[in-house]
Amino acid sequence: MNPELADLEELYQEVILDHSRRPRNFGELADAAVRVHGDNPACGDEIHLAVKFNGDGGLQEIKFTGHGCAISQASASLMTTKLKGKSRDEVEEMLRAFHDLVTSGNNDAPKKLGDLLVMRGVRKFPQRVKCAMLPWRAVEQALRQSEGEATVSTEEPEFA
């Protein structure tokens, strides 16, 4: 296989393309406790995340809408399938592990990342890390608040 194809095939694995074409947990969540709007102003990618917590503060329901590149949309879809039903601590641990995976490509990434390991190819494309992290930034914000709406951005907070 050509070297350029090897990197591209690793980045755009069939699972990722499949999730970007047919995103899971895509849609509205009528009785959401928190809604977070994540955007990447550099490229216009948007993820609108809606979550519902269970009694222990874990993620009972998580859905998203939005549009953008294959990496951001697949990352959101994969993330929601993985995080649904997880406790707060588990989500935070996974957030750290996922960040390591797409930035350093840490091959010792916890086995518990499971399906999310398909996102490992992003590490060879530093300009695409923000795309992969966008939904995770949104879920991170969702955990910080128990209700209401928020906006997160891949860029620094703006001066207005």
């Binding site: 350029e4 980045l11 216009g44 990618d45 953008g68 990496i71 494309f125």
Partner: protein
């Protein structure tokens, strides 16, 4: 254009003048199609800059020693070279800046700050680069002026039929781009300037995309201000030009304060030089200005009419070949267009396509191109953009089509 003259240019030989075009990217020969963002630099320019630092480098206008005299002479000769290049009446109408963006900010802040007032209207177009939009937003917020916009048709041309209702006497400034950096549309500058002058409106032309690509003369255009960057026309980054008609430039108060722009300074107050030096506080980009003059020599050696014809032929060929790619849609189909093509593909988001193309050595731009309102106008968040210059070849277009076809298969 002049067919015989054009056929005399040996375009492939010109590629040899650009060392960077021999680069390989991801083990493929580089195809550089991001010229609307920045052009590459020929050896002629690189050598002049190097020679300046090796034989002339010193600060300008203040040393009595030999090197300072050489640097000053070369710097001011470069100003004259720019004036001749764009048809200015005198070198005093040429202010060196960091680029188009700084040139427009100078006009908005120094000219606009002095002459515009609450209730005045600044007329722009929907296709402006952020650099010809944000400075006017900042100014209008500060002084209470209004912004107004000429809409853009679906084909990427300006809605000129609306101009008479937009260009009212309250409009004190009409600032617009010569060539759209996203759509490639060439705007009818002469006509726009004429209509503006008829109602007493001052005009600013953003020539960032046109200056290195076609014949351009400020007397023929009839504009009051013209802004451009060196780096899109074979010169180094960090050097640009603001042209202003002499009587307007003389009326503008100082902008940045500092050395070089004063005649005398006391602890309490200062008096200022005449333009253009009034607007060049601090040590200027001397090597950049000299490099810009060398780039002008280089471009005129080829011929701007020839370069323009190459752009047009190239865009025509590229559009024809791109029509073969399934699910590819071009934004902006104006008849009058330069070598800039924006497109979207059903198969892939612009960022995915850019990443894919880069692995094959193809440099495209993906995103909003500093044109967010225009992208919104066309209902997209971004596009892929291929932009050409005279050193690009048809073979590069053919390889690009192959890469786009591969992408269709890959992302299917």
């Amino acid at each position: 254009m002049h067919k015989e003259a054009i056929s005399r240019v040996d375009w492939s030989a010109l590629r040899e003048d650009f060392p960077i075009l021999r680069e390989r990217v991801n083990d493929h020969p580089l195809i550089y199609f991001d010229n609307a963002a920045s052009s590459q630099k020929p050896s002629a320019v690189l050598n002049v800059v190097r020679s300046y630092y090796e034989h002339e480098n010193a600060n300008v206008h203040r040393g009595l020693h030999a090197l300072s005299a050489r640097a000053t002479e070369h710097y001011e000769k470069s100003r004259q070279r720019v004036a001749d290049f764009i048809g200015a009446t005198s070198a005093d109408e040429i202010v060196f800046t960091r680029g188009t963006t700084e040139s427009i900010n100078l006009v908005a802040q120094a000219w606009g700050g002095r002459f515009l007032h609450a209730g005045d209207v600044i007329l722009l177009t929907e296709m402006e680069h952020h650099s010809n939009l944000v400075p006017w937003q900042l100014l209008s917020e500060r002084i209470g002026a209004q912004l107004r916009f000429v809409p853009v048709h679906d084909d990427g041309t300006l809605a000129l039929e609306k101009l008479s209702s937009l260009l009212t006497p309250e409009v004190k400034m009409f600032a617009f781009t010569h060539v759209s950096n996203s759509l490639g549309t060439i705007n009818p500058v002469v006509d726009l300037c004429q209509k503006a002058r008829a109602v007493g409106t001052v005009t600013l032309v953003d020539a960032a995309q046109s200056i290195g690509h076609m014949p351009l003369n400020v007397q023929e255009l009839g504009c009051d201000f013209l802004a451009f960057s060196g780096h899109k026309m074979c010169a180094p980054t960090g050097i640009g030009v603001l042209y202003a008609r002499s009587e307007i430039l003389k009326s503008i108060p100082p902008w940045h304060g500092g050395g070089e722009m004063i005649t005398s300074v006391t602890l309490e107050k200062s008096s200022f030089k005449q333009p253009p030096h009034r607007f060049e506080a601090g040590t200027p980009n001397i090597a950049g200005a000299i490099g810009l003059a060398a780039a002008i020599d280089y471009i005129e050696g080829i011929g701007r009419a020839q370069i323009f014809q190459h752009d047009v032929d190239f865009a025509t060929y590229a559009l024809k070949r791109m029509a073969e790619v399934p699910g590819l849609r071009v934004l902006g189909t104006a008849q009058e267009r330069g070598g800039v093509i924006s497109f979207v593909m059903d198969a892939a988001h612009p960022h995915d396509l850019t990443t894919f193309a880069d692995r094959y050595g193809l440099a495209l731009r993906g995103g909003h191109h500093c044109n967010q309102p225009l992208m919104r106008r066309f209902g997209v968040t971004g596009t892929s953009r291929a932009s050409f210059y005279f050193y690009n070849t048809r073979e590069e277009i053919d390889r690009t089509i192959d890469i786009l076809q591969k992408a269709v298969g890959f992302f299917k």
